[in-house]
């Protein structure tokens, strides 16, 4: 009995923090999404206008399509890059000291803020940027490449740059837990490199891949700053749509949009967790 009380007490602080800072705000969000509004005021009400506007507008569908395409592209690229970096760190590099050092080097970009890492691309990719000047100067092209900046290419590039590490870390972590004897056994049984990768390493990395995927997908789905800055305001994302509505004081519309986005992202996470049982494999 005393044990039960202690457990409750131990869990209470976190439960309280989550209740106050997560559950209550989410509840308010849902409530406000049914409010009506005019240009300056929220009008407490129970109307479906906000949701009708969200689902009835072509913009929503197009924006979701765009956001999904960003998320999918970024997920594939970060997964490919992240997996091989993790593989290199976990299996090719020998010696813990060297591995730790290289791992730390991977985190160097994180010493500055997200925003700065993103903005740093602008002078590099611009019409008169470093890359274009180098290419024109070397005679490779006559006209500066315009698609490099303020385009979907730039958005995806920035996302990949920002989020690959979120893929590397969990995959690396699961790779380090793989019992090396399993690989030795596979090799002894005559399996080649790809076969080991496909039948031993990849299945055992699934939890790491799932966690990394959740990070990347959730971050991209909710982003608004990267899309706005790197596309020069030319592209839209769901997050940007919400941020526009907030800046125009259309809180109920933004709340409705946020509730929909939250539902969509939760479904995506649920789908990932259905494929990979993280808890079982951690």
């Amino acid at each position: 009995m005393r044990g039960a009380v202690t457990s409750w007490l131990l869990a209470a602080p976190l439960a309280l923090v989550l209740a106050v800072f997560l559950v209550v705000p989410l509840f308010v969000l849902v409530v406000v999404s049914f409010y009506d509004y005019d240009s300056v005021r929220l009008i407490p009400d129970f109307v479906f206008t906000n949701y009708i506007e969200v689902f009835g507008s072509m913009v929503t569908w197009r924006t979701y399509a765009k956001t999904f395409s960003f998320a999918a592209t970024v997920w594939v690229i970060t997964l490919l890059i992240g997996f091989w970096i993790a593989y290199y760190l976990a299996f090719v590099i020998e010696g813990t000291g060297k591995r730790t050092l290289l791992f730390l080097i991977c985190t160097i970009p994180f010493w500055t803020s997200n925003l700065i890492r993103m903005i740093a691309w602008v002078p590099f990719l611009g019409r008169n940027g470093l890359l274009n000047r180098a290419l024109v100067g070397s005679g490779a092209i006559d006209q500066p490449l315009e698609f490099l900046l303020f385009s979907d290419f730039a958005v995806i590039l920035a996302f990949v740059h920002l989020y690959t590490l979120f893929m590397v870390v969990p995959i690396f972590n699961t790779m380090m837990r793989i019992d090396r004897r399993l690989i030795e056994a596979a090799v002894d049984a005559g399996a080649g490199f790809w076969r080991v990768l496909w039948h031993v390493i990849l299945p055992l990395c699934k939890p790491g891949i799932a966690i990394g995927s959740i990070f990347v997908i959730v971050l991209v789905m909710g982003d608004f700053a990267t899309v706005r800055l790197m596309s020069g305001g030319q592209s839209a994302s769901v997050g940007l749509m919400i941020s526009n509505q907030i800046s125009l004081l259309q809180y109920p519309a933004a709340a409705a949009n946020a509730v929909v986005l939250l539902a969509v992202v939760l479904m995506m996470v649920a789908a990932i967790l259905r494929v990979v049982d993280i808890r079982k494999e951690l």
């Binding site: 240009s39 019409r127 940027g129 706005r228 030319q234 839209a236 749509m241 526009n244 004081l249």
Partner: protein, 430 residues
């Protein structure tokens, strides 16, 4: 103006040229001696909390105010939208709102502000007529949009409905305003730019930009549409749904054709787009043009035949302010119009509401350059002492009368605001 101008404000540091400032302080403190000394003493301990945009939320003004009146100003700077929200929903969080006329149109009817007794404002009769009759000169036209005089007056201290005529109760004391137009890079554009339609000239394909703040961006687009002869608006500041549809359809068409390089939302973005040469023609705000020039890059704030899009702001008093605090608020408003601040704002390329008093605080050369549109007799310095314009330059757009006399529309809030924002989002997402 929104958050972008905040940076411009910050750049204008608190230092100013010694002699002039001293003279200013002397005259400034002289200008307020007409008030009963009983509370002039008490006021010295009063703090007024002012919420405003970065345009005029400047520390230099707060410092000078402290020096001249003893009133401590506590400035909170935010962007236009956040300010509107605060004024409408958190009335007790500020005493003075430094707010735009287009915002007050939304906010005043909520009932969190109190009307200002015009009889207590010493220089009320000297306020530029744009804010009282709407006409700069008796013969000028009243521009479209939320013209400040239409939301400048109410019937009595507690009324919330605007009066079409002047009354003794003002919603705001006007303080700052300007006329906005397109900024261009004259070094990268070989032909003369004369009209708003030049923004969508195919010659500038992929090198144009428009600001992505729906309420203002759509008016710049409307100026372009009218200039092209595609549409005549009854009121650009209050479009019908059909007009909004036509305008956003036009913008989407331009976007698909690749006319725009980017859309900007903040001051820094507009400066960087222009300075880096990504964009050579775009909607711009005057301090942003100055910022590009200060990097040694040619940038012109191009006057156009169809006229300017103007904006104006003023100071309002929150409803909860009373007693000694209210007296201090009035003293502050009177101080604001007494000249020092006017000169300070004029020197940054804005305009002050009472010109006569500001003139006393400016050198004749400064006055001629900023207000008369004459070539600068000497180097023109920014309030922080940095060189702003070399001797011989003429201000883009010319004199005060030329610029403010050519206002085509005022920043505004439309009745179809909500619909317009939806369509604007559609354009950005397209």
């Amino acid at each position: 103006m929104t958050d972008m101008t905040r940076n411009a404000g910050k750049k204008a540091g608190p230092t100013r040229r010694g002699a002039l400032a001293l003279a200013g302080a002397a005259i400034g403190s002289g200008a307020i001696t007409g008030f009963p000394t009983i509370w002039a003493q008490n006021i010295r301990n009063i703090t007024l909390r002012q919420a405003g945009t970065g345009v005029s939320g400047l520390n230099a003004i707060a410092e000078q105010c402290k020096k001249d009146t003893g009133i401590t100003l506590q400035l909170t700077v935010m962007d236009t939208d956040a300010l509107a929200q605060r004024a409408a929903t958190q009335a007790r969080s500020f005493d003075i709102a430094d707010i735009e006329y287009m915002t007050i149109k939304k906010v005043y009817p909520v009932g969190n502000m109190q009307a200002i007794d015009r009889k207590r404002i010493t220089n009320a009769d000297k306020i530029v007529p744009i804010f009282t009759t709407g006409r700069l000169t008796p013969t000028s036209n009243i521009a479209q949009g939320t013209a400040p005089h239409t939301v400048g007056f109410v019937a009595n201290k507690t009324a919330t409905a605007f009066q079409p005529q002047q009354t003794d109760w003002m919603t705001l004391i006007p303080t700052i305003y300007n006329a906005d137009t397109l900024g261009i890079r004259p070094d990268l554009i070989s032909r003369p730019i004369r009209n708003w339609k030049d923004l969508v000239d195919p010659a500038f394909k992929g090198k144009a930009s428009i600001l992505n703040i729906p309420g203002i961006g759509i008016m710049d687009a409307a100026m372009v549409m009218e200039s092209l002869g595609q549409l005549r608006y009854a009121d650009k500041g209050n479009m019908t749904r059909a007009e909004i549809d036509r305008t956003t359809a036009f913008l989407m068409e331009q976007k698909r054709a690749g006319q725009f390089r980017a859309f900007w939302k903040t001051f820094d973005e507009s400066v960087n787009l222009m300075a880096s040469g990504e964009v050579i023609i775009q909607s711009m705000w005057s301090p942003a043009v100055a910022a590009v020039r200060s990097r040694g890059i040619a940038c012109t704030y191009q006057p156009l035949e169809e006229g300017y899009r103007a904006w104006g702001g003023g100071l309002g008093i929150a409803k909860h302010v009373s007693g000694l605090e209210l007296d201090a608020a009035y003293e502050y408003l009177n101080w604001y119009l007494s000249g020092w601040t006017g000169a300070y704002l004029n020197r940054q390329g804005y305009y002050s509401a009472v010109l006569d008093t500001a003139k006393n605080f400016m050198s004749p050369a400064e006055w001629d350059f900023w207000m008369e549109g004459k070539p600068a007799a000497v180097d023109i310095l920014a309030p922080d002492g940095k060189l702003m314009e070399k001797a011989g330059t003429v201000r883009d757009g010319g004199s005060f009368t030329e610029r403010m006399g050519a206002v085509a529309c005022w920043n505004s809030v439309m009745s179809e605001d909500r619909y317009m924002v939806q369509k604007w989002n559609e354009f950005i997402a397209s």
